[in-house]
Structures are given as structure tokens and as C-alpha cells.
Amino acid sequence: MKIGIISFAHMHAYGYAGLLSRRDDVQLSAIWDDDTTRGMKAADKFNTEFIPNLELFLSADMDAVVVCSENAKHQEHVIAAARAKKPILCEKPIATKIEDAAEMIRACDKEGVTLQMAFPMRFVPAVQNVREIVQSGAIGEVVAINGTNHGQMPGGWFSEEEQSGGGAAASHIVHVMDLIRWITNDEVKNVYAELDTRFYEIDVEDCGIVSLEMESGAIATIDPSWSRPKTFPAWGDVWMKIVGTKGTVTVDAFAQNSLYYNDEANCIRQLSWGENAVEGMLDDFLESIKQGRPPSITGEDGLRTLEVVKAAYESNERKQSVELKRVSLGKSYT
């Protein structure tokens, strides 16, 4: 299979490219980037072709593209790829505006092109295990979830609102939000959030807490803060405690690690020995293209999490809870 990558603005592109170029059944066939230097460097690194013109890039022979541009540019790049009939794996969050996300979904629908969201946490075996436990009814009815997706401050365009759509809330609510929806088959009814900038001198929020009421009546909080110190032994965490009427299950998605006390570098690091979730996600994406089956994580999954992010910003602004209004996608194009 031939796969192209649109932009290396998001550092995950390097991870995808590395994994793709290691596979026998995949050829990383081309790279496009609006930053020519960055694109050429990446092409050099992964031993592939850099095509400086997006139209030309999209007209090349490719089975799918991965979109890793800045969040605000996803809309333009996804729609262009859809028109060129290229199936798409899109980095999260889906977009910076709800209208953009809806437009991207409709465009892919209209062109009959796969749009999969990059939510790799669904491919962590521990997370899959917890989903099975919850869906088997073992803990009864889910009544509450306490979740965190902490991180270190990523810097760069991630803290430039125009490019990223916001700070910690825009970046880090969506992973846990997606897992809550995926594990419980529930949707958000009401959102409250307290967001602030307290860790770094940046123009976007770097911390906060989001409080949710689900349609089922279950309650939840998500902590998306960039609150991990520089000395923290990992980039961050994804953790959830799910309380049910019969029991409680907790998941620490990155618990499978050994701790390395490194005198030479004067630091302590987690050495992960767990499965590579990104690899699992790419496998699944490529498999869905080969089989022509619908993607396992849809554009709508991306949109629903973005709606919660937007409601969180609105709530933080008004200091009131916000009833979530879901955009109707009206599948009239299909």
C-alpha cells in the first residue's frame, strides 16, 4: 500500500512515518508540507519523495493519506484529500471549529472517502480490556468517571490559539472524552469547565478541570492540564476510574513501564514495555482501507469530542454550565 503524509507540523507525523516505513506491506510514497524545509528534511529522513505542491501530491498514486498539519489546517487538507478520493487518517483534534469538522465529515461522506480520527488510546490493550469489563456489565451501570490526560507543555504552535484552537483543553480533553463515549456508549448532556493559565507564560490555558453530566445521568470529570513537571518520568498520563453500581474499575493506560534511574542524564524515566497503541491504530486503519470497511473511529467521533471542548470554553467564559447541542450531520449526501 502507498501512503502519503500531509505535513509534519504535528510531531506524531514522525511516529507514523517511522512505523509506516518499517512495514513490508506499506510504502511511504510521498510527503507534502507547507513548510518546505521541514517537509524536505522529513522526506530525507524517511527516504521518500517531497512534493511541494499539494494538488500534485494528491494526484499521485496513493491508497491513503495521514493528515498531521496544525489543527486549524485540518479542514483545508482533509477536504482537499477527500476531493482527490484519498482515504484519510486525521490527527486529533479533528478541527478548531465545529463548522469545519462538520464540513470535513460531509465532504468525505459526499466523496465516499474514509475519514478516520487518530485516537490511538482505543488501541491500548488495557483500555480495550476495561471496555470489555464495562460492556459485560461486570461493574453494573456506570455512574461516575474520574479521568485525567495530563501532559507536559508541548510548546510550539500547540500554544498558539490560531493554529491549535486553544491550549490544554483543546489538546487534551478529546482523548479521555473519546474513551468515555467509546466505553459507555453514552453522550454528553451538560458541560462545566474551569480553565486557566497558571503554569507557563503562554497565551492559552495550560490547566483546568472539565465537569460533565452524561445523557444516562452518569457524572464525569476530565483533567486535561499540562501540569506534569519537567522532571516527571514520562510525557504525561491517561488514567480513568470508572464507578459502577456493582464495582469500580481503574485503568492506567501507561502503567506497563519500568522505571529507569539514569545518573548520566540526571533524570528518572518510564521505560514503556507495553504494546505500541499507535501501531495498533495504523494496522486497523490500513486494514479498513484494504477491506473497504468503514473506519473504526469516525469523523463524527472527532466532532462529538470537539463539541465538548467548545462547550468547555463557553462554560469557562460564562462561569455557567452549558447544555450540549450536537450538530446534526444529516447524512443527505450518502
Binding site: 478541570i209 522532571t231 455557567q320 454550565s321
Partner: protein
């Protein structure tokens, strides 16, 4: 020697206080009040003190300086006021009352009668919490950002039916969350605004549960997340204090210095690990009660005042109200208050 009587001495908390007082110099328990007559007799014999079935009777028949109230929360007001009217100093378990009004009545009566009032917010005497506060105030984590506190255990309904009844215990925020609310206020100052959600179930296969998730915004801007849970298999408390210069974390289950496990014969069922709770010379209850005795003797000022206890109830009430209405509750108007 300060003479003490423990009301509710036959309960779990009463037992802890009796045990602690037995190790404190300058304090002597002279009597206890309880309703369970056989327990009462047993305890009175163990500690060599006089048993009574009413406070009135105890006040009539013994010479006592302090009434220590360890009853269920809903009885605090009645006993505290009775004790104050008899001109006895009062030590009362937390929360001081079921509501701000109840707490206020107790405080006013103690003021009127000129007796001292101490409230058992034990968390301030847990070394890990006291130290964490000191670290934060010394700037160890820089500007505090988001702090997370968890506290939970099994639903206490089995220990006493009154816990499951909000009109008797005040519910999980007032009974359990109040520890963390008070610690937050002690460490970061007044609470500006709260938002909370809450679930409560009973009579289902998994038994009763009560679980709350609260956000508190402190006057210094710190955002606090508090989980208060009566849905845990065993007691667990933890905190994570993240700031611009670092983070301090603690988990009660990860800091047991001693773990004892007795292997059973293969035919016997395993009983699991037995964990000594406080491997510390003076447990927090003893530290607290000793401090109250020192205060009574004029040796120091209380680390926790009756007004602090009142404020803690005010926060718990705001959190409970927010969980009921689904909207935030403003406690401090920054435009008016300093």
C-alpha cells in the same frame, strides 16, 4: 489534670478518642455516655471510667472539665449546647453540625457561656497533609496550578444506618469531602467558587454507594479537584499538588511502611494482607487531642478554630447545593472581599 467525658464513647470514633486520651499526659477520661449498655459496661471496665446513659446524668454525678462529642453528626448540636450550658468546654468531632445554622448555634452558645470549642478536623494533624501544606506555602511547587485530592472508602452504611441518611450525616461531601475542603482552605485561602456533581444509589446488587466530584476555585486562583467516594473496597486517600515549579504526590496505599501477610495452611482461606494503619509514634487523633489539651492549658493557640469548622461546613454546603442545581456556587465576591 484535665477531666474529660466522652459522649458517644461506644462508637468507632469514641473508641479512637478514648484510646488516644489514655496516652495523653494531663488528660484523664472520667466518664462516658453511650446507649449500648453492654458495650458501655465493657468499655467502662477497660478504661476504668464511669458509664452513663445520658449526658445529664454524667454532668450531675461527675466533676468534669471537657465534654468530647463523638456521636453521629445529627446529635452534635444537642450535646454541644447541653455541655456549654453546663459551663463545660467542648471538643466535637467533625463536621461540627449538619448545617451552617447548627454550627453557628453551637459557636454562639459556647461564646455566650464562655467555654472553649474545639472541632476534630483530624486531617490537619496528619503529618503528610500538614507537611504538604508547609511545602506549598514555602513555595516548593511555585504557583499552585491544579491540585487533586481523593478520599474514599466503603459506604459506611454498614457501620451505622445514619451515614446513608443525608438528614443525619449530611452526605458524602459534608461527612468525607469536608476533610479535603478544610485542608484546601487552610492551604490556599478562601474558596471563591465551587461546582460539583454527585451520584447516590442504594438497594442495588452492589449495595449502597455515594460518589461526588467537585471543583473548587480558590481565592489565589488554584483549581482544586476533589473526589469524595463511598464506593471504594477499602480506605484510600491521595493528593497531587501541581504547580509551576514542581509537583508533590501522595497515596495512602503506597506509603505503608509495613506489610504483614501470614501464610495460612493450604486448607484455610486466605485473609489477605493485614496492614497496620498508623506506623507512627503518635497517631493523628492523639496529636490532635493532645493539642486541644495544650490549648486548654493556655500553652498554645488552636491550629483549627471553631470558625474554620464553620467555614468548612459552608464549603460543603455550597458543594452540595451545586451538585443539586447543576450550576456553580459563588462563595467569594472578589470585587468586594479582599
Amino acid at each position: 489534670m484535665i477531666k474529660i467525658a466522652v459522649v458517644g464513647g461506644t462508637g468507632k470514633m469514641g473508641g479512637r478518642h478514648l484510646e488516644a486520651f489514655s496516652r495523653i499526659e494531663n488528660a484523664k477520661v472520667v466518664g462516658i455516655v453511650g446507649r449500648n449498655k453492654s458495650r458501655l459496661k465493657e468499655i467502662a471496665e477497660t478504661y476504668d471510667i464511669l458509664p452513663f446513659t445520658s449526658l445529664e446524668e454524667l454532668l450531675h454525678e461527675t466533676e468534669v472539665d471537657v465534654i468530647d462529642i463523638c456521636t453521629p453528626t445529627h446529635a452534635h448540636e444537642k450535646f454541644a449546647i447541653e455541655a456549654a450550658k453546663a459551663k463545660k468546654h467542648v471538643i466535637c468531632e467533625k463536621p461540627l453540625g449538619l448545617s451552617k445554622d447548627e454550627a453557628k448555634k453551637i459557636i454562639d452558645e459556647c461564646g455566650l457561656q464562655g467555654v472553649k470549642l474545639f472541632v476534630g478536623h483530624t486531617l490537619r494533624f496528619f503529618p503528610e497533609y500538614a507537611d504538604a501544606r508547609k511545602q506549598v506555602q514555602n513555595g516548593a511547587i511555585g504557583t499552585p496550578g491544579v491540585v487533586r485530592l481523593n478520599r474514599g472508602g466503603p459506604h459506611p452504611g454498614e457501620r451505622g444506618i445514619w451515614y446513608g441518611d443525608e438528614t443525619l450525616s449530611g452526605g458524602v461531601f459534608l461527612d468525607l469531602g469536608i476533610h479535603d475542603f478544610d485542608w484546601l482552605r487552610w492551604t490556599f485561602g478562601e474558596v471563591e467558587r465551587v461546582m460539583a456533581r454527585h451520584v447516590k444509589r442504594s438497594g442495588e446488587e452492589g449495595g449502597a454507594l455515594e460518589f461526588g466530584l467537585a471543583i473548587l476555585v480558590m481565592e489565589d486562583g488554584t483549581i482544586a479537584h476533589v473526589e469524595s467516594s463511598w464506593a471504594e473496597p477499602a480506605f484510600e486517600a491521595s493528593f497531587e499538588l501541581a504547580g509551576s515549579l514542581g509537583m508533590i504526590t501522595y497515596n495512602s496505599t503506597e506509603s505503608f511502611p509495613v506489610r504483614l501477610h501470614i501464610r495460612k495452611q493450604a486448607t484455610e482461606p486466605s485473609t489477605g494482607a493485614a496492614v497496620p494503619k498508623n506506623v507512627i509514634k503518635k497517631d493523628p487523633y492523639e496529636r490532635m487531642l493532645e493539642h486541644f489539651i495544650d490549648c486548654l492549658q493556655g500553652k498554645c493557640e488552636p491550629v483549627i478554630t471553631a470558625n474554620d469548622a464553620l467555614k468548612a461546613i459552608e464549603i460543603a454546603e455550597a458543594v452540595t447545593q451545586s451538585a443539586r442545581t447543576g450550576e456553580p456556587v459563588q462563595l467569594l465576591d472578589k470585587g468586594v472581599t479582599q
